[in-house]
Symmetry: C2
Subunit: 332 residues, 2 copies
């Protein structure tokens, strides 16, 4: 295992210390717990949006805490859920009189802890919450309800964050997240595994020139392992899966997110992006806006994911285009 770190057991907290030191004044932590990550710019009367999840996916999850996006994040260890107490403490800190939306990925541990935090907020503080999970990974499950959440959660963050910044009500912010969820699908693939620092070796191997199509961001098995395909072939297979699950009519507009899983170069992401854009064009689908980069990673895993977010209406365009500013992501 080759990682720039001090000790495997210090990985998450050393990372957090680095983040707070680098971005002092933008983010902070509460309850003397580095893992209770909050915006430093709380806005009274605004719905607070809270996310959370394991470390190892930067900029997911905490990287989206900032102006125009989210308000707080419970930070778990590598690939582990934050505790319900951490989520509760973050929520208590950032709640600003308009209730709390929990918006996170569809993973069992996270659901359990967010649900418990919601109960605590209700019973102890009378704070109203709503919950919604990202579940965009088409190949993780045929059943929409039990799909994993991956990079497509970006569009849920963006739409919900924009609606909250517009001072929408809790139910309106939830509806914005739901609209993004209903219209977003993702397909991903890995070229190499990654290593959990405290484990020290990867849980699976891929041969020289072998890839895993449909693999999850924690190394969950995909739908096939085989030789690495070309960018155009990967675009074709991914878009086919996405369109079978979410049919798009000729003339419709989408936002496209080409996400790197960690070790894949930006050069390759743009090669892939070019192939996907060309393919959609051939199908009569217009790309309204393209996002390319690392949005949801798996540490040093090589690979990428393709997310398509159907532009449902003009309101959604407005949400997607609204400026945001966090230590990890700025859009003007």
């Amino acid at each position: 295992m080759k990682k720039i770190m001090n000790a495997p057991e210090a990985y998450t907290d050393d990372m957090l210390k680095g983040i707070y030191a680098a971005h002092d004044g933008m983010v902070k932590y509460v309850n003397d717990d580095l893992r209770c990550y909050c915006t430093a710019h709380k806005k009274e009367g605004k719905v607070a949006i809270i996310t959370g999840g394991g470390t190892g996916h930067l900029p997911l999850f905490l990287g989206y805490v900032g102006d125009g996006l989210l308000d707080g994040c419970g930070v778990g260890g590598v690939f582990q859920s934050p505790s319900s107490e951490q989520i509760y403490n973050v929520a208590k800190e950032v709640e600003a009189g308009a209730g709390v939306l929990f918006l996170y990925g569809n993973y069992t541990g996270d659901i359990m802890n967010f649900d418990m935090a919601a109960e605590m907020l209700d019973m102890m503080d009378g704070i109203e919450t709503r919950s919604i999970v990202g579940a965009d990974d088409v190949l993780s499950n045929a059943n929409v309800e039990t799909r994993r959440g991956v990079a497509g959660i970006f569009f849920m963050y963006k739409c919900a964050g924009a609606k909250a910044a517009q001072m929408g009500t809790l139910d309106e912010v939830l509806a914005a997240a739901q609209k993004a969820k209903d219209n977003t699908r993702t397909v991903g693939f890995a070229l190499t595994p990654c290593i959990i620092p405290e484990v020290g070796h990867s849980n699976f191997t891929l041969e020289e020139n072998e890839m895993a199509f449909g693999m999850g961001i924690h190394g969950e098995p995909g739908v096939w392992n085989g030789p690495v395909k070309t960018a155009r072939e990967l675009a074709e297979e991914s878009v086919k899966e996405i369109l079978e699950d979410m049919p798009l009519d000729h003339g419709e507009e989408v936002c496209l997110l080409i996400n790197g899983l960690g070790a894949t170069s930006q050069e390759e992401l743009y090669i892939l992006s070019g192939s996907v854009t060309q393919l959609l064009k051939e199908k009569g689908i217009r790309v309204y806006r393209t996002f390319v980069g690392e949005y949801a990673t798996s540490m040093e895993m090589a690979g990428a994911s393709i997310s398509v977010c159907r532009v449902a209406d003009d309101e959604m365009k407005e949400w997607i285009n609204m400026p945001v500013h966090t230590p990890f992501y700025t859009q003007v």
Copy 2:
């Protein structure tokens, strides 16, 4: 070799097609040559700043073309210089009546081609140029004049771009770049090699748990190969080299750039950033502003570099803080 691409020989042009498709309206190319990369927002009367260099270092070089930074970029093949004709054509397009600054990395092929382009601009068009090279890599050469340029060129881009945006004269913009150059030093290290697509294998290997301290972004040999050190040890050794070359007094302020070489996770970069910041604090040096991310890469190389830019005066703070917006880098 595992890369998401269509064919090794199409790597650079497919990447460029993807970039133009994703960021239509922000950047364009001229002379029917994808590799003549220009801003779409030319501003009359402003000094034009042009960079260039090989593909494989995104967001370097072309990623810094945009509002508040650079105006054009000659794009070479992977790790190859752009041609003098390409540089010339970019310069002709973006020159806006105030002359041209060539600002690029200190590599022989680039110097030859930029110099030739400068001669062509002078002789054929009467366009005035100045040239300055980034040469911040402390461990590449004891002689400051012959050092390689690496991630620290970001601060030269930022200061020169700001001065040009303030409508400074050609010599003032050159002086801003020079001020950043004089005050910036970088040390880098690699944990894995990278592979040039058309070669298909790396030119060197690093053993399991072996790293190369001082290695260049094209795989140029470093000063030692040995077991991977901790983040704190790497911070100490890097900062020692930087401060021996550019002594800093107790109480001085610096900007810090922690740059990932491609495959290294953002988590690790923040662990390293935390260690460097803590170490500088112990030495009485204040970090004024921290930049963490991928600023100058080597495709899928794992590793990082540490750049320290001494804050020379308030003018430099103003330049560093000025908003910029390119498809690859936005600062508000």
